[in-house]
């Protein structure tokens, strides 16, 4: 599929042809180089997207190939926007999004600020802290269900050790109150280093002379922090929030392994709900409409956010 005739030609160019190619204009070469990538993305991203849009107006079910497909206009969209279950899953997503970003920014920034004190061995410890975020979320999520087991799980045991509560008295994944926080904890554990690294880059981009000038002006440390450090790191921090926001809006693998959306539908994030509709209930048309709504939401929010980000950068 990616093997367009043009790339194949460029790959194995025989001598006489090469001479001809040498004669190609820069513009032609540029297109030969770019075309395969664009083609692949069109085939695997844009074409499917258009197909999804088309499907979203039908009652198609992928597990019922022999059923007649009807165009039903905006009915799928209507049903989704009036479905209270969908709104609950959007609420769960919002809760997850807000609190993961809140904790990750808080802890990530603090860590970066501490590491920037340049104590001995800070490189080594930074690398160790970074490890969780590079690991497979599905595998890690699966193992956290073990850590969260009441009684035998490490997490419950550690909490019990420090609070004196009975380790089997609370169920992180099974309780309606705690499960939304259980997924926030694991995501925070995994992705705080991401925010930390970006903040660290921000802190390190602040030239020393600004602080030196502030010292000479006898500005207090507190004042320096709020008038120099925070504004200078802000664009970096906002970038980190953008990345985490998009990623966690799409969140699927980690949470599906942790709770599968339960108990009940307490942690059924948008992507998990979508997967159920699309690949378990096989309501292809309906879930296509849902997919489009999600995509438009994330795209819209991200665009607004990027505009704000650029404003902060320009300041």
């Amino acid at each position: 599929m990616s093997e367009s005739p043009i790339t194949r030609m460029a790959e194995a160019t025989p001598q006489p042809l090469a001479r001809k190619v040498r004669g190609l204009s820069d513009r032609a070469i540029a297109w030969i180089f770019v075309a395969p990538t664009i083609f692949l993305l069109l085939a695997v991203n844009i074409f499917p997207l258009i197909w999804t849009i088309n499907l979203s107006f039908t009652n198609f079910k992928a597990n019922r190939p022999n059923r007649e497909v009807e165009y039903i206009g905006l009915r799928n969209y209507e049903r989704i926007l009036t479905d209270s279950d969908i709104w609950l899953s959007m609420q769960a997503t919002a809760h997850f999004l807000f609190w993961t970003i809140f904790f990750q920014v808080l802890i990530g920034f603090t860590l970066a600020w501490l590491i920037n004190k340049k104590f001995k061995g800070n490189d080594l410890w930074t690398t160790i802290i970074v490890l969780p975020m590079m690991l497979s979320p599905a595998v890690v999520g699966n193992f956290w269900t073990f850590l969260y087991q009441p009684q035998i799980g490490l997490f419950n045991y550690v909490v019990a050790f420090f609070t004196g509560a009975d380790p089997s008295s609370f169920e992180m994944l099974g309780s309606v109150q705690l499960a939304p926080w259980a997924i926030v904890i694991v995501d925070t554990w995994m992705w705080t280093p991401f925010v930390m690294l970006i903040c660290l880059a921000g802190l390190r981009s602040i030239p020393d002379y600004i602080y030196e000038a502030a010292e000479i002006d006898r500005a207090s440390k507190w004042r320096q922090f709020w008038t120099i450090t925070v504004p200078m790191v802000m664009p970096f921090l906002m970038l980190a929030v953008l990345f985490r926001g998009i990623e966690n809006f799409k969140m699927f693998d980690l949470v599906v392994q942790l709770t599968g959306g339960g108990p009940g539908s307490t942690t059924e994030l948008a992507s998990i709900n979508l997967k159920r509709e699309a690949f378990e209930k096989w309501r292809t048309g309906y879930s296509s409409a849902f997919a489009i709504i999600l995509f438009v939401t994330v795209f819209g929010l991200a665009s607004i956010y990027v505009k704000a980000l650029n404003k902060v950068k320009d300041r």
Partner: protein, 440 residues
């Protein structure tokens, strides 16, 4: 870069060595089923087929929580992974209507395999579509129902018996009704036995696949739950949310709340077995399929275990499990796959199947005078199979099941709303599905 390439290459070699790659042959059949005890028995049984025919067998066993998801996905994508599939009873409608399964009527006729040789309940549930018509898409492979087992050693312990007598005024024994089951469970809950805190029961509460539905229907059927007022009419109002159904669902929630061990909020077969094997619970529900393995268990098997049928309340009723074996229509090796079915249908093989731990549905096995005494759970199995009920087997079964999973889990585990509200919402969900199907 070269160093890295080298690491990658040696990594490849290492995993290749560890991977025990199996040689591909033209007549290598792949059979797909769930990963559980009977599957291991089938591997053992199939050696005979390999010897007799020269075909080789490969197996793809998928854990229950992922089984339906993975296999339905495979069928819907027209995959060639499985030549033979032992699919769940509820898939038969979809398998037949969407052309995933090969229709077996002509083959049965040509080979002289008669469906009259198999227990009628299993033929009805595992083989026919539309239900009850002589159109066969599978051969009954594994009869199964949801049953119970308990710690016989605890039930026979004099001290415990005396304590139970004092607490309830009754003798401790296999429960004769659902309510008695809860009474016993409450008695055991939190009790100290051999220095450990034990709990009453472990029951199915799993959310992701079918767990909580399969568990709760055990109570629902015993109270007299019906899916429709008139079979085939899809009129669910008054049936699905009947006063009996509401009472049964409230019972299941109470049983979950009063008498299960902590942390069993999302438990299905594996967790139920774990709870029992680790000595945490006095009683547990599970499929008969696991009983041979449980009976052999070195820690809790043998003298320490006994079995009983799902207790009746208003009427006897058990949740049907079990599967038929089908030939996948996307397979390139259908002839060899049919050979396997022919071999499997043989009464002698069926007898050996039961011996190894599989539940044969063949009359020659079930009606054998020695059958009831051949295993401590054999009689219970026959009794259970007389009163089994199954979930919807409609082509839209997955949607129907997922709706029930959600409503039940929301009510029982997540404590949302009342039983009546949960069942009313369920009717709404189901009505929507049947409207989409054009059946309402």
């Amino acid at each position: 870069m070269t160093k890295r390439t080298k690491t990658a290459v040696s990594l490849l070699a290492l995993t290749a060595a560890a991977g025990f790659g199996s040689a591909a042959q033209a007549d290598d059949l792949t059979l797909c089923w769930a990963a559980w005890d009977p599957a291991n028995a089938l591997v053992e049984l199939s050696k005979d087929f390999e010897e007799k025919t020269g075909h080789t067998m490969s197996f793809e066993f998928i854990p229950w929580p992922n089984f339906a998801d993975r296999m339905l996905n495979e069928l819907n994508s027209g995959g060639k992974l499985c030549d033979l599939l032992i699919g769940d009873s509820q898939w038969i409608g979809g398998g037949a209507e969407n052309g995933h399964y090969v229709k077996l009527n002509d083959f049965f006729e040509a080979e002289g395999i008669s469906m009259d040789d198999f227990a009628p309940a299993t033929v009805y549930a595992y083989s026919t579509w539309p239900k009850g018509t002589p159109n066969y898409y599978a051969l009954p492979a594994m009869g199964d129902a949801n049953g119970w087992f308990y710690r016989k050693d605890w039930f026979e312990n004099e001290e415990i018996r005396a304590a139970y007598k004092e607490a309830t005024g009754k003798g401790l024994g296999e429960p004769k009704s659902q309510k008695e089951l809860m009474e016993i469970a409450k008695f055991f809950q939190g009790r100290e036995i051999d220095g450990n805190t034990v709990y009453g029961v472990s029951i199915f509460t799993e959310r992701g696949s079918e767990g909580i539905t399969m568990g709760a229907t055990g109570a629902l059927y015993a109270w007299g739950f019906k899916y429709e007022n008139t079979p085939g009419s899809y009129d669910m109002e008054g049936a699905v949310n009947s006063p009996e159904a509401i009472e049964a669902l409230e019972f299941y929630k109470e049983l979950y709340e009063c008498c299960t061990p902590p942390g069993y909020t999302n438990s299905y077969m594996g967790e139920s077995l774990d709870a029992f094997k680790s000595g945490q619970v006095a009683m547990a529900m599970n499929w008969f399929a696991f009983f041979p393995g449980l009976y052999q268990d070195p820690d809790v098997g043998g003298d320490k275990i006994d079995f009983f049928v799902n207790p009746p309340q208003n009427q006897p009723g058990s949740t049907l499990g079990g599967q038929g074996i089908s030939v996948v229509s996307y397979s390139d090796k259908q002839d060899a796959a049919l050979e396997y079915i022919k071999w499997f249908a043989d009464p002698e093989i069926q007898a050996r199947w039961w011996e190894l731990g599989g539940y044969s549905a063949h009359n020659a096995v079930l009606n054998d005078p020695g059958f009831v005494d051949s295993q401590p759970f054999a009689g219970d199995f026959l009794e259970a199979m007389q009163n089994v009920q199954d979930f919807w087997q409609e082509p839209a079964y997955a949607e129907l099941l997922l709706a029930m999973q959600k409503r039940l889990h929301d009510y029982v585990v997540a404590d949302k709303g009342t039983a009546e509200e949960a069942l009313n919402l369920l009717i709404e969900d189901w009505t929507e599905v049947f409207e989409d199907e054009g059946k309402l």
